[in-house]
């Protein structure tokens, strides 16, 4: 399966809570945000109000560049439930963002069945946004594609 667009994968509605609402609202504008501590300067993910590095509550939103590199990836053929069971094979990955944190995501716009160009640990990637299918929410899932 070749993903020509981020829309090639399921787009389940994320679970949103008051701490993460701004993150998801920003995705609708095509922005990837991180939480950063104003005491220790650590940028972290997933977002939460208290810094997991130094426990400070002095934290704020920052815009991520949207660029990073693949830390690890797996081409998944089975063992998954829900909508993804129908979407195999697909790529699950950790991307190390330029700001430091690693985030779980999918790698799209790669040919999984062919030579797999662009699918390697260390590959530079950039964020793309897939609008969620649930019409009640104005959110997008950040995914990544190879920088070519």
């Amino acid at each position: 399966m070749s993903d020509d667009s981020p829309g090639g994968l399921p787009t389940p509605t994320p679970s949103v809570n008051p701490e993460t609402q701004p993150y998801w609202n920003a995705t609708a504008d095509g922005r990837l945000m991180l939480r950063q501590c104003t005491d220790c300067d650590e940028a972290y993910h997933y977002p939460r109000n208290r810094c997991p590095a130094c426990y400070s509550e002095s934290t704020e939103w920052i815009d991520a560049s949207g660029y990073g590199e693949i830390y690890s990836f797996t081409v998944t053929h089975g063992g998954v439930g829900g909508d993804y069971a129908e979407a195999t094979p697909f790529v699950l990955a950790y991307v190390t963002l330029d700001e430091g944190p690693r985030m779980l995501t999918n790698i799209v716009d790669v040919d999984i069945t062919g030579d797999r160009a662009g699918l390697a640990i260390g590959q530079e990637v950039e964020v793309v946004f897939a609008p969620v299918s649930d019409g009640d929410n104005d959110h997008s899932l950040p995914r990544f594609k190879p920088v070519r």
Binding site: S15, T74, T76, G79, L92
Partner: protein, 382 residues
């Protein structure tokens, strides 16, 4: 009294691997009765009840009608829960809270697939939306380990090969046929680089053990197995600084070794949690049985093979071939270690003169957040 004076007096592994006609509470009750019978004790003797559920400890105490409960623990950390439970039971007994702690687990994922629970966990919105599952999160760890250390699929396959060689002597094992490296590497890819035979079985059933005070142990007919040491740890995502190449055993292992006062060369047998082959490989390294990154070389050439390998492991066939009830394999790890120390493992895989054993449990996911508990157990007159 020190926790090291506390003993495991009874064990029981449910013989079923598929149980469509039984309730989960019924399975708990059956393994409870089995472990108490093995110890020579009765429900009347039980004064502590421990399970991660489901059902909850409260529901199970009610179901069983237990009347003398003075201590309860429901620590729930996935498949490693029971290795936490034994350590916590030892502490509770040592501090005088109780004398006979019954630890049970059961589940029916083979009969009743799916049934994922709705979640209010804080990380929920950032993982499952990308198609995460148990297997592909462990696959991410395997891929990174291979990248950093040159570990190969053939080396991971060695772990399944050793487990399958052991399982051929266990007539209750789900998969009793020995497999080759090629059988593993050529089995269907599930989530690369993990193939079908890199994954544990899905089974119904359960297991139990009874943890007892030295006074109770002295009165039992069975030879006690001593809880020499236990260490536990949570290793997590660290705000995005996760390193997929190691497990929480880097912390739980030294804690257990220190409490037990034993060294690696003292360990005659090891039960290593084997949800996937990569779980075993990383855990062996993290416990210090070989240098970090050298796990692949270590398992080559039959190091895990009982009875004569350097580190005989999972002689029942492990979760990979024998049993992984309720998707939580920790109790069976304890049970097989106790069998080895009693000299009651299957004859062909019984480690000669086995008097110190280790059991390591892994809960949660190598790919995100996980719990690790390491138990060091001793047989005979310690």
């Amino acid at each position: 009294m020190s926790p090291s004076d506390v003993a495991i007096g009874g064990i029981y592994e449910h013989p079923l691997r598929e149980a469509p006609e039984k309730s989960t509470a019924q399975l708990h009750a059956e393994v409870a009765a089995g472990a108490l019978d093995d110890a020579g004790l009765s429900f009347e003797d039980v004064d502590a009840y421990i399970t991660d559920g489901p059902p909850s400890a409260m529901s199970m105490v009610d179901y069983l009608g237990l009347k003398n409960i003075t201590h309860v623990d429901s620590t729930s950390v996935g498949g490693s829960s029971y290795l936490f439970h034994v350590g916590h039971a030892a502490d509770a007994i040592a501090s005088g809270k109780c004398n006979v702690a019954l630890v049970t687990m059961a589940g029916r994922p083979r009969s009743k697939r799916g049934g994922g629970r709705p979640s209010n966990r804080p990380e929920a919105g950032f993982e499952r939306v990308y198609g995460t599952a148990t297997v592909n999160m462990y696959a991410l760890a395997a891929q990174r380990h291979m990248h950093e250390y040159g570990t190969t699929q053939e080396q991971l396959a060695e772990i399944r090969v050793a487990a399958s060689n052991h399982a051929q002597y266990n007539e209750q094992a789900m998969y009793q046929d020995p497999v080759t490296i090629e059988d593993v590497t050529e089995s269907r890819p599930v989530s690369e680089p993990l193939n079908l035979l890199d994954c544990c079985v899905v089974s119904d059933g359960g297991g139990a053990c009874v943890v007892v005070s030295p006074e109770v142990a002295a009165e039992l007919e069975r030879e006690a197995v001593w809880v020499l040491g236990q260490g536990e740890a949570i290793k997590h995502h660290d705000g995005g600084k996760i390193d997929l190449t190691y497990t929480g055993a880097v912390e739980s292992g030294p804690r257990a070794f220190q409490q037990a006062g034993v060294a690696h060369e003292d360990i005659d047998y090891a039960s290593i949690y084997d949800s996937f082959t990569i779980t075993v490989l990383e855990t062996i390294e993290d416990l210090g049985f070989c240098e970090k990154g050298k796990g692949g070389e270590f398992v080559e050439g039959g190091a895990l093979q009982a009875p004569n390998g350097d580190l005989p492991f999972n002689t029942d066939g492990g979760g990979l071939c024998n049993n992984h009830p309720g998707n939580r394999g920790g109790m069976i790890k304890i049970i097989e270690a106790v069998r080895q120390l009693r000299g009651e493992a299957n004859e062909e895989v019984q480690v000669p003169d086995c008097d110190t054993a280790l059991a390591n449990g892994t809960g949660g996911s190598l790919g995100t957040r996980m719990a690790s508990s390491t138990l060091v157990l001793g047989g005979g007159a310690q």
